[in-house]
């Protein structure tokens, strides 16, 4: 049977990846029949109405799902389609209480006209009581109107869909995790709605282990824990985890949402010097770890890495040991003191992206997902390529556009070792070698940062302060 999904008309490019991820999570066979970024209405094929309800129950971008009773460009066409699709079902709804409404997207109808339209469906033969609150069944005629139809005086919608209501998405969760009401946030905390969408796309679920190597105030681990996963996180900046005040810590956030039991652990660490145990890929990447430590640890890795635009990206180390010969001996002497702050050196954003992919390939279980955010220019020739890795398959690239730049959520799937293409591994190795020769490694400045400082007055940051483009 076909079902009608009513999306919210926002974060358009995230909508399909979200429900496709939920289909994977629920083990539901989902076929998209019709979908467009310009419309909130999407038609899908699903095995059952139970599957339809399960598919969307934790979706952030789906408002509702309906059994599709008919569609068409005119009311006549809708009536014909409803007869064709559902005549055999009408008997089941003869006596139940029901409600029949019209939902006009981008348009309006007079009350009278609405009643006329509703009455034109009288042939369905529903004889049960009409109940506006908690009816047994709810039928909705959706109208898809052109933009600005009211001021333009457009008389009719472009399209109609008749659906029987089945279920609602998780639209209440973003409110629950709203940053405005969260105890501890920073300027780079991820918006609750997008953090939840990210957690969905990364397949966070009960019994799973999720990790954010740039955890900050914990937006992603919180979203993952909200969906039942056990969350881990780390950050190079211990203060960002610990906060400044007593009640303002990452842990306090978990406490606020009653999720403490799902906080696996947080620690201070630099991703480029990570203490997470992991085996080398393919066993021959020069890192002959044979410590008998088996297995990959995480079902999902979700993060918003530092773009390094405003303050430059840093990792542990000294840039020019010759220039400041005292740093290392001083460190040797002092590092055991409780408030020793280890030196940091600048690092390239592209190198960091490679590190994230490599780390994920080594620590994600088969089919585990990496979802991370990265900025890009809207301008084609400034666009940053989507990073690739032979052990990771790109699952989805979602874009949130702002005026001068965009940020993308890129999602990968860990390919099981046996299915990894050896040719791709070879190529990646070569590319890395040439990259090294060209000096395209850790020390190269962030190309993105350069581009933005020369072209735009306000560089992108992890917190978009300019308004999204609608």
């Amino acid at each position: 049977m076909e079902y009608l999904i009513r999306f919210s008309q926002s974060y358009e490019t995230f909508r399909l990846p979200e429900i496709q991820a939920l289909a994977v999570l629920e083990g539901i066979d989902l076929k998209v029949v019709s979908y467009s970024l310009e419309s909130p209405f999407c038609i899908v094929k699903l095995p059952s109405q139970d599957a339809a309800k399960r598919l969307i129950r934790r979706s952030i971008l789906v408002q509702t799902v309906h059994e599709l009773w008919g569609l068409g460009a005119t009311l006549e066409a809708v009536h014909a389609d409803v007869r064709e699709r559902t005549s055999h079902l009408w008997d089941q709804y003869l006596t139940c209480s029901f409600k029949f409404t019209i939902d006009s997207y981008q348009g309006t109808r007079s009350g009278e006209r609405k009643i006329d339209i509703i009455n034109s469906f009288a042939y369905l033969g529903f004889a049960g009581p009409i109940k506006m609150r908690n009816p047994d069944q709810e039928f909705i005629l959706f109208e898809d109107w052109p933009l600005n139809s009211t001021p333009l005086g457009i008389p009719d919608p472009k399209f109609y869909f008749l659906g029987r209501y089945l279920g609602t998405g998780a639209r209440d969760l973003p409110k629950k995790l709203d940053l405005k009401k969260r105890r501890y946030i920073s300027t780079t905390s991820m918006d609750a709605e997008l953090a939840l969408v990210t957690a969905n796309i990364a397949l966070a679920a009960p019994g799973k282990l999720m990790y954010d190597p740039f955890v900050g105030t914990g937006s992603f681990p919180i979203a993952c824990a909200e969906f039942g996963a056990l969350s881990f996180g780390s950050d190079i900046d211990g203060r960002s985890i610990r906060g400044d005040e007593k009640k303002k810590t990452l842990k306090a956030n978990f406490e606020q949402y009653n999720l403490l039991g799902r906080l696996g652990g947080v620690f201070t660490a630099d991703l480029t010097n990570s203490p997470i145990r992991r085996l080398p890929l393919g066993g021959d990447n020069g890192d002959n770890n044979d410590s008998g430590v088996k297995g990959r640890l995480f079902d999902g890795i979700v993060c918003d890495p530092p773009y390094g635009v405003r303050e430059g990206l840093r990792v542990l180390g000294v840039r020019d040991p010759e220039k400041c010969p005292w740093v290392i001996p001083k460190g040797k002497e002092m590092y055991k003191l409780p408030d020793f702050i280890p030196p940091r050196k600048p690092y390239s954003f592209l190198a960091m992206l490679d590190d994230i992919l490599q780390f994920s390939a080594r620590t994600l279980v088969d089919n585990g997902r990496l979802s991370f955010w990265m900025p890009t220019a809207n301008d084609q020739d400034q666009e940053m390529p989507v990073p690739t890795h032979p052990y990771l398959e790109i699952v989805a690239v979602c874009t949130q556009a702002f005026n001068k730049w965009s940020r993308r959520l890129i999602t990968y799937r860990r390919i099981p070792n046996a299915q990894v293409d050896p040719g791709a591994v070879e190529k990646a190795k070569e590319a890395q070698e040439t990259g090294k020769l060209l000096g395209k490694t850790a020390d190269e400045l962030n190309p993105f940062r350069k581009a933005y400082f020369t072209r735009f007055e306000s560089p992108p940051t992890n917190t978009p302060d300019n308004e999204p483009v609608q």
Binding site: G265, T268, A269, R277, D287, S291, G295, K332
Partner: protein, 127 residues
């Protein structure tokens, strides 16, 4: 930091990654707390194959817990053996290390744990 996390962490010093005795890190002066959490069998079954059992046995003993069996339980064991399930749950998920140090058995580096947060930042001569 749950005891489970200790099973995921090794010495951050690159030279230590290739040796056996840098994992697990050894808790020193550990202050533990115990928080009751609802048992999640699926979680434990999922986590089991990712645990380094030998390392967990070491950690468990060093933290003063009773010695774990030599062989890890199987997924079926966890389905049937309620006692085993509860013990593992209590150790891995309910017990947290709040203060103390984690010491590398190879290089001797001590990673401080404060307010449940371990610090793995290294000084420049170790990165």
């Amino acid at each position: 930091m749950k005891v489970l996390t200790l099973n995921f962490l090794t010495c951050a010093v690159k030279a230590c990654k290739t040796t056996n005795n840098s994992f697990p890190l050894h808790p020193k002066d550990a202050e533990l707390v115990h928080d009751e959490i609802e048992i999640n069998r699926d979680l434990l079954v999922n986590v089991l194959p990712r645990i380094d059992w030998t390392a967990l046995r070491t950690t468990s003993t060093e933290l003063g817990f009773p010695t774990l069996p030599e062989q890890p339980p199987t997924a079926e064991d966890l389905q049937q053996d309620e006692k085993m399930l509860k013990e593992l749950h209590a150790l891995l998920l309910e017990t947290q290390m709040m203060e103390g140090k984690l010491v590398c058995g190879h290089c001797g580096h001590e990673y401080a744990v404060r307010e449940g947060i371990a610090n793995f930042l290294l000084p420049s001569h170790l990165v």
